[in-house]
Symmetry: C2
Subunit: 346 residues, 2 copies
Amino acid sequence: MSDVTLGGPEASVTLMREELVSLCHRVLKRYGFSEPHVEAVSDALVAAEMDGSRSHGLYRLLGFVDTLNNGGVVPDAEPAVEDTAASVVKVDAKGGFSPYAFRQGVPGLVSKAKASGVAILAINHCVHGTALWVEIERLTREGLVAIACNPTQSYMAPHGGREPLLGTNPIAFGWPRLNEDPYVFDFATSAIARGDIELYRRQGKDIPLGWGVDRDGVPTQDPGEVLDHGAMLPFGEHKGSALAIMIELIAGPLIGDMLSVESSEHDQGRGSLPYHGELIIAMDPARIAGGDAPGHMLRSERLFELVQQQGARLSSQRRYKARRRHLEQGVTLSRSLYDDILNLAS
Amino acid sequence: MSDVTLGGPEASVTLMREELVSLCHRVLKRYGFSEPHVEAVSDALVAAEMDGSRSHGLYRLLGFVDTLNNGGVVPDAEPAVEDTAASVVKVDAKGGFSPYAFRQGVPGLVSKAKASGVAILAINHCVHGTALWVEIERLTREGLVAIACNPTQSYMAPHGGREPLLGTNPIAFGWPRLNEDPYVFDFATSAIARGDIELYRRQGKDIPLGWGVDRDGVPTQDPGEVLDHGAMLPFGEHKGSALAIMIELIAGPLIGDMLSVESSEHDQGRGSLPYHGELIIAMDPARIAGGDAPGHMLRSERLFELVQQQGARLSSQRRYKARRRHLEQGVTLSRSLYDDILNLAS
């Protein structure tokens, strides 16, 4: 490792990118994940860690191993790619983690989107625990515009309701830019990520009103009540709620896979990572814009400039800054997380 | 007309569906719209009026005629359908209203979605003033799942910004149901529709905080300040803002058409209805769900039941109720609106 700081609760470890990758590899190999899963999962976790997302970074290894120990994931699943229509690629992940299934689906998705103008990748029967934006960037590198979404488990009440039913259902979007990092966003349709509420609980802090309700459906600031007995709430009231329902449908029954409520039932209280499907839509500007497609795409630069000129933040810019800084200086993990991961690896 | 109530400001007129249609026809014919535009626009306006949406109903005729008088729409434009890829239909509306262009694009969109699994309809160079959900329902009647969106004009600041840049950019979604009206939503990505802020101004009332900012970017409750000097705000803070930007991009440059800021510049302050593009994505469950597609679609009924069981409202149910009531009893228009429309017709 590059650097270790000892002494007290602030003790930390700084690791360069290659060290993060090899740490992930060691853990995942030790638990019997097949080579392509080891590589695909490690790349996804390290990408998130490099982008400054602790919640989707190496910390997830702990949950991945728990899920394996619970029988919640198949460590050597070999995804089956199926060609069901001119603009559809289906990948049956066969109970494995999603990143390898995504990789197997990408070549077909890219070639179909470029041939037809738009194509869908439906990943079925996968266990999900990695960030969507990493997949989105894989597609923007091909010059494609992409949207990805998935259900999770029943954590959230619909707007106006009080019981957990919907998932926190993230949606991500990517737009390729010339000589610039792509415009990418990736957010949960809940008011806040579940992990953030967990963090408030661990710190014994009240959550703001609007994030969740208690067992009686009454707004509460008690994080434990929301997580264990009540329900999370959607962002943006009825609009965010409608989007979460859309995601349940198009990344659930539309692709022949589970709703969040079905995924929760499948879990049977084991607390595994959610098992369900994922939908990715990829669109090729060269086939859709018509005429001077690069010129049309370039007009979007004006929008990005005008957003930033008035002091508003452009989604994903903070991630790109973190990525560049971490590539040079390495990522700092807390000593306790590093030790927990090392324990898994040995 | 079916019924007229006279006397004072509450005077009203009740018209049956056929009477609304013939009133629209009279107005649009009188102003030189070609037969297919007369029919397509009338159907869209009457559908909205029947669904209880005053803002997208016959009231719009006044703005349509204004836009024509400003030279902002071509009354006899003949849309050109272009086949650019296996899953893409492009329709050049040639400066006409969008409903006729949409009609011309539907057969290709439906057949391509059913052949390829997913297809896109891109409408270019259209003038927009009708509700997206009417188009969405046309596609759910074919058994397709559909998403539609469009930019508008620069009315809204991005989250964290203060100047009008983004449109109110509506997004609509539809999901076909067996023996039930489809699940449909259709909402602006602004905190509230522009028309609602207009209504507050006309009534001399303060708007709630969160809808807009004044010329200095400070939150204000003055509707006129928001509309004339400041900016509207997105729903759901940075998430709604990101969705509005996505819509600018995928229903703008991706399809070779204008951003909201470009549409505003094109308008040159005439106050015409916005001129821009529209994107519709249609997906065929039969090609995507795999195996027992109808069985998968039927699982969505459980979600709808569980939403309603906990007292939450399912999008579009209020519209369907209004539609059934108005089909039986007719729609009541204010006498002043009715007179304004009659004046246009004669």
